[in-house]
């Protein structure tokens, strides 16, 4: 197992190299020139040329890549064209916001998705089942940004219950230890800040969670339906075990195994969904920042962000596989090849 994990981590390297090549090609070869944006409305052709030269943009693409990759290996992802700040600093000051949002969203999605899925499976064809599955179907069909705006209109604009943007009331902002406001406010023992951060999370996390929740609910339902037909469920019932226990301890425990994979995959799609959610809710995370940087042709930042996201994505997949093995004693990764 440990060997397997090690092997998988080694396999990160070619994937990351591949990712860097793709991003590099898209950005440096095909994307528009960043110079006019960087240099502003007074930029003249001459200034543009001088700037491009100074930033190595006139070098052959291989040389540019070589500079990038050697820098990346030493932990230097370069400097943002636009803000002149180190890319790593720019990224990591926004990364916790995205992670916090994604983690809360995946928790919401998992809890409610599994709950709806289990009840739907157990009470198959009941009103609850039909309503739950209709909700799930609409949930995967709604554009996430549209849902987000509807939530803002309703809960912020009309009812004034919840904030529509940002992570926290700046006056309550806790000192930055982890960058996760929920954790930081707890460390600081500031319950007001914790509550406020939570309130700010409700709408974006719900919008972001909707799609994944729907997927998880549907998956849970079908997985549970299949599990509930298994012979060992009948065995458990034949033992005289109560129905609730049969569902929780036998069916769910087994039905959960494929769901873990789905949740893992969803975490990946959440990172994508964060792009739109963050845009709608002015969430100061990496998603909306990346879009802005793509549109500004801020190459170093885009390269860095995508590399980081790919890294996290692969790592999460690894984690899912490990959890999978943990949940299912039949799985062994000793001889698996890819």
């Amino acid at each position: 197992m440990l060997k397997y994990i090690f092997k998988r981590i080694l396999m990160l390297i070619p994937v990351l190299i591949g990712v860097s090549i793709i991003v590099f090609l898209i950005m440096r070869v095909f994307s528009p020139d960043p110079a006019p944006i960087v240099l502003g409305q007074h930029a003249t052709q001459t200034a543009v040329e001088v700037w491009r030269q100074a930033n190595g943009l006139n070098d052959p693409i291989f040389l540019q890549y070589y500079h990038f990759i050697t820098g990346a290996l030493t932990g230097d992802l370069g400097t943002s064209f636009y803000t002149k700040m180190p890319v790593l600093k720019e990224i990591f000051s926004r990364f916790p916001a995205t992670i916090e949002l994604a983690v809360v969203a995946i928790m919401l999605a998992s809890i409610f998705g599994i709950l709806i899925g289990v009840v739907s499976a157990v009470k198959k064809n009941s009103i609850f089942d039909n309503a739950g599955m209709l909700l799930a179907l609409v949930g995967v069909s709604m554009p996430i940004f549209w849902l987000g705006i509807l939530l803002i209109i309703f809960f912020s604009g009309t009812l004034h219950w919840l904030p529509s943007s940002g992570r926290i009331n700046p006056m309550l902002q806790p000192g930055s230890v982890t960058g996760f406001y929920l954790i930081d406010s707890l460390i600081a023992g500031n319950m007001d800040a914790f509550g406020d951060a939570l309130r700010h999370l409700v709408l974006p996390a719900s919008a972001l969670a909707m799609y994944s929740m729907a997927i998880i609910a549907r998956m849970t339902r079908s997985s549970m339906l299949e599990t509930l037909q298994q012979d060992y469920i009948r065995t458990a019932r034949a033992k005289g075990v109560s129905e609730g226990r049969v569902i929780r301890k036998h069916a769910l425990r087994n039905g959960l195994i494929p769901i873990v994979t789905v949740i893992g995959l969803q975490l990946g799609s959440l990172l994508g969904g964060a792009v739109l959610t963050e845009t709608v809710f002015s969430w100061p995370g990496i998603g909306s920042y990346t879009v802005a940087c793509i549109l500004k042709s801020d190459f170093p930042v885009v390269q860095g962000v995508v590399l980081l996201i790919a890294f996290v994505f692969v790592l999460v997949n690894l984690l899912v596989d490990v959890i999978y093995a943990f949940l299912d004693p039949r799985i062994k990764y000793s001889k698996k090849e890819g």
Binding site: G18, V19, F30, P32, W146, G272, L276, V306
Partner: protein, 310 residues
């Protein structure tokens, strides 16, 4: 699908008795079961309706006739932001264009992008997956590593980067969305081919000395075609959503095309003044995506022998 012989229980027999007649082909079998799935039929009906609208709009455009209530691109600045009324059922937008006409007109774009993008990812993905799965070895390893790389970048980010690089446009949106979902198809096809490859009839075909391409197209692909159909149907709904997302971010089609996501993106600035400009395109997207999801689910159920016994 051959029933597991070892399961002897009476229930299985009773269930099997419901399916005495065995349809000849997989697709026909799917169709038979699909017809019994109410939700899927509803989905199919909605898609047919939308396709009809799209064809009618497109056809009349070619003939230079106007079948929509108004010209969807005709802007009249004196009619900016008229709330829905008898004359303009869905109201007008900032430039005084009729929202109903624009939404109906948008059907053709969403359907086109959805289908065309899936066609791209499907053809390339199936080919790559088939080659990888069938050849195995280094070819397989290389193709699948590339697919892994693509999968590890969120597809929407990749699509945004493509669009930013290629520029706005219907054709470019199709390409961007088509390209980013290639790995899904490649993976599915490769996986199924790996499992089908060892089957006796494929081995037999090999022994007789059939050419590889012939084996893939004649013996392997027909066996996984239904799987691909399901994936492609669901893929269209994803593609429509992705198109809308690109449009929303201002990276979709060129003006004055009426694209629903683009309409949503513009409506965002007027959520209090003209919320109807936000509501209707959103509903339109949800309906089309829902329809393809319903159909895709129905197809999947029809394909899956376990779930069809209900």
């Amino acid at each position: 699908m051959v029933k597991d012989v070892s399961s002897n229980s009476d229930e299985n027999l009773i269930q099997a008795a419901e399916y005495v007649e065995k349809p000849e082909s997989q697709l026909k079998e799917m169709w038979e079961t699909l017809k019994q799935n109410k939700a899927a039929v509803v989905g199919l009906f909605i898609i047919a309706l939308l396709a009809l609208i799209a064809l009618a709009v497109w056809g009349s455009e070619l003939l230079g006739k106007q079948i929509l209530p108004y010209d969807p691109n005709y802007s009249d600045m004196t009619k900016s932001f008229i709330w829905p009324n008898a004359e303009h059922w869905f109201g007008t937008d900032q430039l005084g264009r009729d929202m109903l006409s624009r939404i109906l007109d948008g059907t053709k774009i969403s359907l086109f992008v959805g289908v065309a993008a899936v066609a791209i990812s499907l053809s390339i993905g199936v080919m790559l997956g088939a080659i990888a799965g069938y050849r195995g070895g280094k070819t397989d390893a290389f193709i699948m590593r590339v697919m892994d790389v693509m999968l590890s970048i969120p597809s929407i980010l990749l699509a945004i980067a493509f669009m930013a690089a290629l520029g706005k446009g219907l054709d470019k949106a199709v390409i961007a969305i088509g390209l980013v979902s290639i790995p899904e198809y490649a993976r599915i096809v490769r996986g199924s081919i790996l499992s089908v490859k060892e089957n006796d009839y494929v081995q037999a075909a090999k022994v007789i000395g059939n050419k590889d391409s012939r084996i893939i197209f004649k013996h392997i692909l027909p066996n996984i075609i239904s799987l691909i159909v399901v994936r492609a149907t669901l893929g269209i709904s994803t593609a429509v959503l992705d198109t809308a997302a690109l449009g929303f971010l201002g990276l979709g089609v060129q003006p004055p095309y009426a694209e629903w996501g683009d309409m949503l993106g513009r409506a965002r600035g007027f959520i209090f003044t003209a919320p109807y400009t936000l509501i209707f395109p959103g509903i339109a997207i949800t309906i089309i995506v829902l329809a393809f999801n319903l159909l895709g689910d129905g197809l999947r159920d029809a394909l899956d022998p376990k779930s069809r016994i209900k």
